[in-house]
Every structure is written in C-alpha cells, then in structure tokens.
Symmetry: C2
Subunit: 167 residues, 2 copies
DNA sequence: TATTGTTATACTCTATAACTATA
DNA sequence: TATAGTTATAGAGTATAACAATA
C-alpha cells in the first residue's frame, strides 16, 4: 500500500490500477497462485546467486548430486524435470566450474556416476544459504505452525501429482 | 538405505532408482518444492489446453482482462510479470483469435483499454475448467480444510513478497 | 533390443533498447 | 519530461531427433 519507496522522487501518481487489480477466476487456480510466488522466489534467488554463475537447474543439480552420490545423469534429469540432453550441458558446466565430476562406475560402462567435489560442496552450502535468505520474507511472514503446515501440504500435493499413474 | 555420504570407501551405490532419490538440502527450500509442483501443473494444463492454442500467459491475460475490463497493457504486464513489450505480442495473439480487443479510451489516447470479447469469455470459461481439471488430483488429495489452509498460506506468502519494498 | 550419454539443431519464451505518439 | 505502446533484436532455456557405445 505505502507507495513511497525510499530514495526515489515522489512516486508516480498512478491511478488506482495496481492495488485494485482483480484476479477474477485466477483466484481459484492453484497453478496461477503458485506460479507468481515461484517467479518471485526464482528472481530473488538468481539475483543473490548471480556472482556464483549458477544457471537455472545447477543449484538443484548440485544438491541432488550431493545428496545422491553416484547418481546417473538420466536419473538426475528425471528428478529435476529436464531432458537428458539438457543435463549433459548442465553437468559440463558443473565440471568446468570444478563443482562436480563424472566417474565411470565399474559395473556399467554406459553410465556416468556423478559426484560433488569438495569445492562443489562448499559452493552448495553457500547457495543453500542464498536460497534460504531469498525466502526469508516468506518465512518471516509465517508462524512456525504455518510453515510446518506449508511443508506438509507441499508433501501431499507433490505426491498427488503421481497417484493417477497407479490408477 | 541411506548410502554413506560420499565416502571414498563407499561402494558404488547401485542406482537406487527414482523412488529413493534424496532431495537433500532441497527439502528445506520452499522455492524448489514449489517449482516442481508448478512444473507438473503447468504441463498438465498445457496438455489439456493445447487444442485452444493457448500460449503461456494467454490464459492469465484473458482472466485478468475479463476481471478488469479496460485494463491497460502496462498494468497487465505488471500483474502477470511480463515485460510490456512481451504483452504486445500476447495481445496481438488474443486479438487475432478474436478473444480480446483493444479500444482507445476517450481520456488518454496513449493507452489502450483491453476488453474480452464474448467469444473470449467463452474460451476463458473452458480454459478455467481445464485448469481446475488439471488440478483435480491435488484437490482430491487434500481435505476441504487443507485446501482452505493452502489458499490462506498462498495469500500470506504472496503478500510477503512485497513487504520488504516498504522497509 | 534397450539404455546411457552425446551432438546438432531448432524452437519457444522473454527481456532489452530504441523508437513513436501522446500527455 | 514522463508514460503507453511498438518494433527489432538478441539471448537464454529447453526439447527433439539422430547417433554411438554399451548392456
């Protein structure tokens, strides 16, 4: 509501526009409501992580590799929702940065086993801090109970995305 | 089941396949948890809405135009998070499809006032049904109370994205 | 034949910058 | 000078398809 952002000249006397926009039917569409939040979070995180040179997906990839040492590229691609071909360039970047590495596992010479390097672990730790920091406004606006509710709901919701596969 | 974290001795973990992937620190990152849900919803909706020829943003744009008759392109761009230049092509498409139209309002000949056509209203109604249908698995997995909790949390969360502007 | 990874390619989406016309 | 809209352009991001190596 308070328009005056610090530092600038008097706020442009925009007509009521902004604050009074009606979402209409979008109010009931979960996907829309979630997307605008995700857009904000994404931009806030990327702005903070800029100096690390992270690209969309590389943070997620690093986290998954770190948590699942030896994971294959194809399993990784499924988990982050990218095509396997896209993951190739992603891992190339991680290797160039020295954050992760490919190793040939003894059993199967088709696949690569992915591992995070110590340097990668450090960067990941920093990136996690940036991600949490970017979400601080949200965490600050919710009570501990609400935050717990949120994660519980996200659990249920994500699980529900796959139930129909079994029916 | 949890394989020794990155130990050097740790035997090559045979791929634990999808279901056993550990999210690691991503478990605590709201942005990641939200994004994977949004990805699913987005794809489910686009698959259903394919035959309408909707592009990303056109459903949101139609809903906002319909709920805010006479809205300007620039106000619309702010609301859906696109650049004003991007909105031009978006509205071009909506006009070509006969779903929306630009009118010059009497007061200010710089701006356009956007309106949904009757045909646009009909399509919007269909699209809304598709969106809700795409979300059906989620709605089915949540109780009425949980669904209400969800919308309440989304309200609070989105509002919190802007509070820092006032500080 | 199926699976993992790679390459080459093309397409979609979106922002940026410079411009016009109104105010 | 500031705002609404437009155009042209470039870039990021991603998928698709064909392929090689291995199983």
């Amino acid at each position: 509501m308070a328009r005056q952002a610090a530092g600038k000249i008097a706020a442009p006397p925009l007509e009521a526009d902004d604050a009074e926009i009606d979402l209409g039917i979008l109010n009931d569409v979960i996907g829309f409501r979630i997307r605008r939040i995700q857009n904000h979070l994404s931009r806030a995180f990327l702005a903070r992580a800029e100096r690390y040179g992270v690209k969309p997906g590389s943070f997620s990839a690093m986290a998954l590799i770190s948590a699942n040492p030896g994971i294959s590229q194809i399993a990784l691609s499924r988990e982050i929702g990218f095509d396997k071909a896209t993951v190739v360039a992603l891992i190339d970047g991680l290797e160039r940065a020295g954050w992760a590495e490919r190793r040939r596992p003894p059993g199967d010479r088709r696949r690569y086993a992915l591992y995070a390097t110590p340097k990668g672990q450090d960067v990941l730790s920093d990136l996690r801090a940036q991600a949490i920091d970017a979400e601080q406004p949200i965490r600050g606006a919710l009570t501990a109970v609400e935050l717990e509710q949120l994660f519980g709901l996200l659990d249920k919701i994500y699980a529900s995305c796959f139930v129909d596969l079994a029916t």
